[in-house]
């Protein structure tokens, strides 16, 4: 890693009362990297991700995201990131085009830009006919793909994806990862949490959180070698077995 990291985290901690959800984690993410953020339910990954997006304020520690300090320049950070949450984030009672227009608008895109992007997006996803349908009426896989494209609408430097493929069939998941690769290819940094270990293999680097702390961080290949196992699945099982916290 010779380039300046786009995400740089030092001792980031979040406590809720006496419970330490995230315990002094530190890591760097390089620009254009697909960074896998793994952990069992309740390990603290969603909390960590929400802090990085400016949705939760850290209890202590520092982080710089897209060149800005997370605690003092939160709004500058927000302009440069995209986010796709575990909960479905598009408005179900608006059409696809209206959702695009809305999110484009609040990120300050001009109407011409929005129009241009909508057409490009529709062609890329093969959704030209569905643009004026209510989001509610579309299958989950499509909604997720649209949500991801919407998160990319304002050309963010980083996109945070919180379990983007939950509940989606394997074919659609594969297509979804094609979109992720395409974005990475354009230089976007992707920060992804997932429960699917096959998806972990697709990441450039993977971190595994256990009980609020990062227990492993390296390329999938290096991690397999380090733990002497054949798959990421086994790496994860080995680490998660030692967890003290029960899920959720």
């Amino acid at each position: 890693m010779t380039t300046k990291p786009i995400i740089s985290v030092h001792g980031l901690t979040k406590t809720f009362g006496s419970f330490t959800a995230v315990d002094a984690i530190s890591f760097d993410v390089a620009p254009g990297e697909i960074f896998g953020f793994l952990g069992a339910n309740g390990a603290g990954k969603t909390t960590a991700m929400k802090m990085l997006c400016g949705l939760l304020s850290p209890t202590s520690g520092q982080a710089r995201v897209a060149g800005f300090d997370l605690s003092t320049q939160t709004e500058d950070v927000k302009r440069r990131i995209g986010y796709m949450s575990q909960k479905f984030s598009l408005y179900e009672d608006l059409t696809v085009a209206e959702n695009i227009q809305f999110y484009g608008g609040i990120y300050g895109l001009t109407l011409a830009e929005i129009k241009h992007k909508s057409i490009a997006l529709a062609t890329e996803l093969g959704l030209t006919l569905e643009m004026n349908k209510l989001v509610r009426s579309l299958p989950l896989g499509w909604k997720q793909k649209i949500a991801f494209s919407v998160a990319l609408l304002h050309d963010p430097a980083i996109v945070f994806l919180d379990e983007p493929t939950g509940g989606v069939d394997p074919v659609t998941r594969r297509q979804f990862w094609d979109l992720i690769y395409a974005a990475a290819h354009r230089g976007v940094t992707l920060f992804v949490t997932t429960h699917y270990m096959d998806e972990a293999e697709y990441c450039h680097r993977v971190s595994i959180m256990v009980d609020g702390a990062i227990k492993a961080l390296d390329t999938p290949h290096a991690l397999r070698k380090q733990f002497g196992v054949a798959s990421m699945d086994e790496v994860f099982t080995l680490l998660a077995r030692g967890a003290q916290r029960s899920a959720d």
Binding site: K50, C53, G54, L55, L56, S57, T74, E75, D76, K78, R79, I81, G82, Y83, S85, Q86, K87, F88, S89, L90, Y91, E92, D93, L94, E98, Q101, F102, Y103, G104, G105, I106, Y107, G108, F160
Partner: protein, 372 residues
């Protein structure tokens, strides 16, 4: 500004798309405004009276005729048993009993004085009191008639009569709907505004879309304004429909300037929407928001001075009503529509509501946290 435009566009699309809600917020208030004012009538007529006549004399018969010939009273039962009449009070069939004692006619001539006994169901004290007063008035008239009859000699001393003339200012015909229609319109306007705004933000919280908003660089003020303005305009639609109903169904033409009503309503809507949005930012679930909104709404409506007079309340409750926005709009409606008041007469109301609007909305903006 641009961000606000997109926020507004989105809110409007959502509101206009939900046809059921839209129909409800337009039709329900209109229906209620047409029907309910007719129910809010204190005019006491057709009081059920039962007469217990122990005398059965010419005089008592004459009194009975006198009573039943007015439209204040309906004769429910004419009997000579008091318990029978009282059973009618118990079963709500009669409101008041007039008991004429044995030897009423004879006693009147011999002793020059007789007493009648009135017994009324006073659970609703005001209604009972008014009923008794009407009955008394008829008895007095009857008494005067009787005296003229008995004293064929016109030189007898005349009874001192005090004639009372009543002038009812601002509403000479005592039309109840003139008072009730603007009042009920104010209540409906308040309910729609508070309920819809109270649910709005918390609904986005429950659906999860709020997180997506919170990762954008949108400001808190933009967000709250984006929520406030659509409902504000919707409030004006309701107000206009309401004023049209008042004009064309009830024939109410405001004495004062209608622009003043709109001006005040604009500030008023900002205030009550601010309350709704504050509830919405604080609540965790729609359920909580609804109960809290309901709690406030009930107190606002019951203590707004429309159904019972604020002056009848104990002092502490009267002070409390100064915090009640509904009190102000009902007073303003009354002042402008019925009394033709100008701005100077509603300045106090205007300032208080403007203060509430600023306070509640700033509070809502501060309470809305993009970051937990």
């Amino acid at each position: 500004m641009r961000t606000l435009f997109f926020l507004l566009q989105k809110e409007f699309r959502q509101i206009l798309r939900d046809r059921i809600i839209l129909a409800m917020i337009l039709i329900m208030p209109t229906m209620q405004l047409i029907l309910l004012p007719l129910a809010a009538n204190y005019e006491v007529r057709h009081i059920g009276v039962s007469i217990v006549d122990h005398d059965r004399s010419a005089a008592s018969q004459q009194l009975v005729r006198k009573i039943t010939s007015t439209d204040y009273f309906n004769l429910v039962r004419y009997t000579s048993s008091y318990p029978e009449a009282f059973a009618l009070i118990e079963s709500n069939q009669t409101d008041v009993i007039l008991e004429i004692p044995v030897g009423f006619e004879r006693g009147l001539v011999r002793e020059n004085e007789q007493s009648l006994f009135i017994s009324t169901n006073a659970i609703n004290g005001v209604k009972a009191n008014i009923g008794a007063a009407y009955l008394n008035r008829i008895v007095m008239d009857f008494n005067a008639d009787l005296r003229t009859e008995l004293l064929s000699d016109a030189k007898g001393r005349v009874q001192p009569l005090i004639d009372v003339r009543t002038i009812d200012r601002f509403n000479p015909h005592l039309l109840y709907h003139v008072f009730m229609v603007p009042g009920i319109l104010a209540l409906l306007l308040t309910m729609i505004s508070v309920y819809l705004s109270a649910l709005n933000i918390v609904k986005e919280k429950e659906l999860g879309t709020i997180e997506q908003i919170n990762v954008t660089p949108i400001t808190r003020l933009q967000f709250i304004s984006g929520k406030l303005i659509p409902f504000w305009l919707l409030g004006f639609v309701t107000l206009t429909i309401g004023l049209l109903v008042a004009r064309f169904v009830y024939g109410i033409v405001p004495e004062g300037n209608i622009a003043l009503i709109y001006l005040f309503s604009g500030v008023y809507l900002t205030a009550v929407l601010g309350l709704g949005l504050l509830i919405s930012t604080v609540a965790e679930t729609q359920q909580q928001a609804m109960f809290v909104a309901f709690f406030f709404m009930m107190i606002f409506i019951m203590m707004g001075g429309l159904f019972t007079s604020i002056e009848s309340m104990p002092q502490w409750a009267q002070w409390l009503t100064y915090l009640n926005p509904v009190r102000y709009i009902i007073e303003v409606m009354r002042l402008v529509i019925l009394k033709g008041a100008g701005f100077s007469e509603i300045r106090f109301h205007f300032l208080v509501i403007a203060g509430m609007a600023i306070l509640l909305n700033s509070w809502a903006v501060l309470k809305y946290r993009k970051m937990a």
